[in-house]
Chain length 637, copies 2
């Protein structure tokens, strides 16, 4: 019997494995996905979806399903400290969890049981023809290259050992979590940035309390210990309590505590408030050491992501979010290599981009966790400056903890994710050079390469719907070209020349035409010509003034559902006539082109000019990582 072949074998159906599976299933890949648990997560585990991750889920069409579970939303974090004289805790301040300086669509953290989040992904994966095989585990693998197209052999088995299966695949991905068989086999080491390990207790349940901030995220320090409060869906609350630290004199990583012990500790910490449990849904004690895998892949065939590559304290709610972004980053890169768009070398950037983010996370976490586990100075020690004055929106004095917290808001919201300059993220050092590239450093655009595009609200021309521009093109594996068209009367020639450049033989756009381009339905909105590019055009004009088929050459007019009027006022740029143009830092008259990677991060920004310059610059940009050489020879036309 011939050995079964798959594009990818994915081990583990937690957040990282599920998101990867969802993307690849949608894009038509053949997936073998196994998980050693018989069913999805029943209780406990991660639960925090950061603002930026909600954008991502919306972009995948999955936000609706998650919000249907009516999750808790955290808009503010409250800080509680001990009062002098044994009077128990008092609130020293609150801070927005995603402050206004961050331009977020959803400025809150969403809290929902991981199992419910998994269900939303699983339903989508099944709709696209992949079924997760449970309870199955990986028993062995070798990237032996015996079959050049399917170089990885993977052995899988039912956890009870009754059945086994050996398959070949182009890729193997481990989303197994902190205890990863694949990582062990690869002998990839975990580096501990912070040598201090902790034992954590975590308890989900329904409580009766007169503690006023029980529906907010709180960090509470008291003379009796520290605790973190996280609200949950269905009237639940999660408490994190630190049970032991490797800095304790009697430290033991196996130290544990019972439900009752943790409840008693919580009662003491919360004084003068009272707390009683009506129901405990889940309780667990586990040791966590901060760690990061030295490598995310050795050969760009066997990859790892999520907790498998980075572990840290659970308090900043980053685990699931970092896992999502690991998976998203890898998904489109594998897709571009396997579909012949990009050179195989781009796969190296998975590790370089994502490991940097994990390192930043761990640095942040070390600071944050250290402060959290230290007893804070009491009100008496700090003095009256620590008491919040009514009417002030922020504490009168920021202690070290709050300073770290504030500085980290951008990071924890997910909007701080910033990839370094590389082949995708244009910089002065990029192989593609042209005076038309705009850059944030030079002040010619606000858009920073390696960061997400600024959100902007616009009016869709064809149906007059008011929409979020950054959400209009779904996560479809395509680069997003945002053609900011400025004033139609000013840019008429530039747009015609841009369109001519796109259709020119050898351009980045025409080199990657769909093979079925002539058979594509007129209902196709995002990829009428190419599976690797979606184009949106935004004019500085009122919606009724824009006649799509009159203003745009055919190649652009074909994106009939992706033409927008930049005519919605925005509080952040109150004086702009064309708010989206202004937010991108582009001329409201002359526009410009913002190229966004399939994952929503800005690749490059180019001036929109008469002649071939704009497309020439884009040809150079894409040629630096596409499989074919681009730019063609004009004379050949």
């Amino acid at each position: 019997m011939a050995i079964e072949r798959y594009d990818i074998v994915i081990v583990g159906a937690g957040p990282v494995g599920l998101l990867l599976s969802t993307c690849l299933a949608r894009w038509g890949y053949k997936i073998k996905h196994v998980d050693m648990r018989p069913v999805p997560t029943i209780t406990g585990r991660a639960d925090g979806i950061q603002p930026r991750s909600l954008d991502l889920l919306e972009n995948m069409g999955l936000k609706h399903g998650i919000m249907a579970y009516d999750p808790a939303k955290v808009y503010e974090v409250a800080f509680w400290d001990p009062q002098s004289g044994g009077k128990g805790i008092h609130r020293t301040g609150t801070w927005p969890s995603c402050p206004k300086f961050i331009d977020a669509r959803y400025p809150f953290t969403t809290l929902l049981h991981q199992g419910l989040i998994e269900r939303v992904f699983i339903a989508d994966i099944e709709q696209h023809g992949t079924k997760i095989q449970r309870p199955w585990e990986i028993k062995g693998f070798s990237s032996d290259g015996v079959d050049k197209e399917y170089p990885v052999e993977v052995s899988l088995a039912h956890v009870n050992g009754d059945e086994q299966e050996t398959v070949r695949a182009k890729y193997l991905f481990s989303g197994e979590g902190a205890r990863s068989f694949v990582r062990e086999q690869l002998k990839v080491k975990i580096t501990h940035k912070d040598p201090i390990a902790h034992v954590w207790g975590v308890m989900d349940g329904v409580v009766k309390t007169n503690f006023p901030d029980i529906k907010m995220k709180c960090t509470i320090h008291s003379d009796a210990g520290s605790i973190m409060v996280i609200p949950r869906e269905a009237n639940m609350v999660r408490l994190y309590i630190q049970i032991a630290s490797s800095t304790d004199p009697d430290w033991h990583p196996r130290k544990t505590a019972t439900t009752e012990q943790v409840q008693e500790a919580a009662k003491k910490i919360l004084k003068p408030y009272t707390i009683e449990w009506e129901r405990v849904e889940w309780f667990s004690v586990y040791p966590i050491g901060q760690g990061i895998a030295d490598r995310y892949t050795l050969d760009e065939r066997v990859f790892m992501g999520g907790d498998c590559c980075h572990t840290h304290s659970p308090k900043a709610g980053q685990g699931m979010n970092t896992a999502f972004l690991d998976a998203q980053n890898l998904a489109w890169k594998i897709h571009h290599v396997e579909s012949g768009f990009a050179d195989r070398s781009i796969l190296k950037s998975y590790e370089s981009e994502r490991k940097l983010i994990a390192e930043n996370l761990l640095n942040f976490d070390a600071q944050y966790a250290k402060l959290f586990s230290q007893r804070q100075p009491s009100a008496g020690e700090v003095g009256s400056a620590n008491i919040q004055t009514a009417g002030e929106q922020q504490p009168a004095e920021d202690n070290e903890f709050m300073k770290t917290f504030k500085a980290s808001c951008e990071f924890t919201s997910g909007y701080g994710v910033a990839y370094n300059e590389n082949i995708f993220n244009w910089s002065q050092n990029h192989p593609a050079q042209s005076p038309l590239f705009l850059s944030e450093k030079q002040g010619t655009t606000t858009q920073r390469t390696g960061r997400i595009m600024t959100p902007a609200t616009v009016t869709r021309v064809c149906d007059a719907n008011v929409v979020f521009l950054e959400q209009e093109i779904p996560l479809n594996g395509s680069y997003r070209l945002y053609l900011f068209g400025g004033k139609p009367s000013v840019t008429k020639n530039a747009i015609n020349d841009f369109a001519a450049g796109l259709t020119q033989k050898g351009s980045f756009y025409s080199s990657y035409k769909r093979p079925d381009v002539d058979a594509v339905s007129h209902l196709e909105k995002h990829n009428p010509h190419s599976l690797f590019f979606s184009i949106a055009t935004i004019f500085n004009a009122h919606r009724p003034e824009i006649e799509i088929r009159e203003l745009l050459p055919e190649v652009l007019a074909r994106y009939f559902d992706h033409v927008y009027a930049d005519d919605i006022w925005d509080q952040r740029v109150p004086n702009a006539k064309a708010a989206a143009h202004a937010k991108m830092g582009l001329s409201e008259d002359e526009g410009g082109v913002v190229v966004v990677r399939p994952d929503g991060y800005v690749g490059c920004v180019v001036k929109l000019v008469d002649g071939s310059g704009t497309v020439d610059a884009l040809n150079k940009y894409f040629a630096s990582f596409t499989a074919k050489s681009l730019g063609g020879n004009r004379a050949q036309l």
Copy 2:
């Protein structure tokens, strides 16, 4: 065998029957619900959800389920007229379907197949223990009063005649649609406001066209006839075409047309644009005469609603929306009578309130339909003034059609629904009199009794969530008391006195305590003390300044989840410090109390003062329709 008894028998599972069933099932009533169709609507029928209805669906927690189907949204309506010289049609202007002068949360019409909307209701009804019995029909009924508690006997049968059942009920409701057995039996006449009848063709399908406004709502007049375009979910479009009118010389109400004939007509009308059908999902031809039932009930036991009571042209998209509001209006009134809160006489107001709205609808429809079916003057006839100038947001000249249309926006959005003064809708003529009642006529509040409360965005204190105040109390059958608390320092005494008045023996509030008040869970948010009242308190203060248990007396602090900070800036009242207070037309310092009926319409507005006055006024207001006498005797305390 004893005859089975029900609180209500509902006949028909279209929008009116389903919404009534949903409310009553949630509030614990025993329902027999039958429908003669074997399954919910498969194709065709109504599809337009107006902005105000979306508010209602959200208030019922059903909007999520409907939006999950990804319906089309209509933000603008385009008008097309003939050009001179046989050049076909051209656009003469567009108009927002819910213009900015209406303060709507969702300023668009939602278009979705009726069957999908029905499914959302049916799932909810089944969750609450009622199952729709299909295909069953009503065979007879008599409101014989043999059983005083269950005065109505109803005979039901399977449509194939094999099975039958006779039951007794407190109420019978017909939501049977235009051909109502109940209405016929009651010999209730239909009055035709407008003697002109029409035959309509309606076609749902997927088209391929270069007509640029195919994703907008359009009214198109051409020399070859008139058509209305309505976008639909799943790339579909609905076309309405008038096939015959009783004003035609060869008028026949049975006149019909084939799919092909309607398609040919559409092709001619749309010239110079082309249109082809890829798929026709549904096509139907039906005669519609404008009509309104003389009575909605004869004895306040057998009621009718929806199409059973009013028929009109389908074009303004009002059918389903009016049906929803019929049902909602009846639901809480039956609930208040049957639960002993209100006097039985309030049931008379169902007909008086809802028939007025239907009459307004028919008046509007007659005007609108007449204009629609008339050929519009061509551009040549009208002159160049009819050509829209680029840059203008509205047509240079409004013809009669557009004038009517604009004037009707408030009405079609659902926000124009205005109930006359009566026992619920306070006025100078109301039996309850006090100098503390505020009124829009006197300019002491902006809130108009019999109209919905103005929407306002506020911050929930307990969890810092930014929320829609008008959505915070769900459709739970309770009156909503919005205590606008002004500045806490100013209103301290008034609020204490208000709370003292509420808890006073004999007050409207304490007279309708829950029988299980001592056993109510601390998790109950909306009805901790009474099933007939939910209270929200809104302070003119920043969220972190509000310590609920310090600022509010116990009775109000118990509504811990319904205390809000009026600290969100609103573009409509840009200079207000407390936007919600300002929008209600209340003093930002001193506040006031807005009493809202269970259906969201304002009942009365009362000044918030020191002493007993505020509650005294409310006691008088509620005493005018509650079952018990209120206000008590202060000396009795």
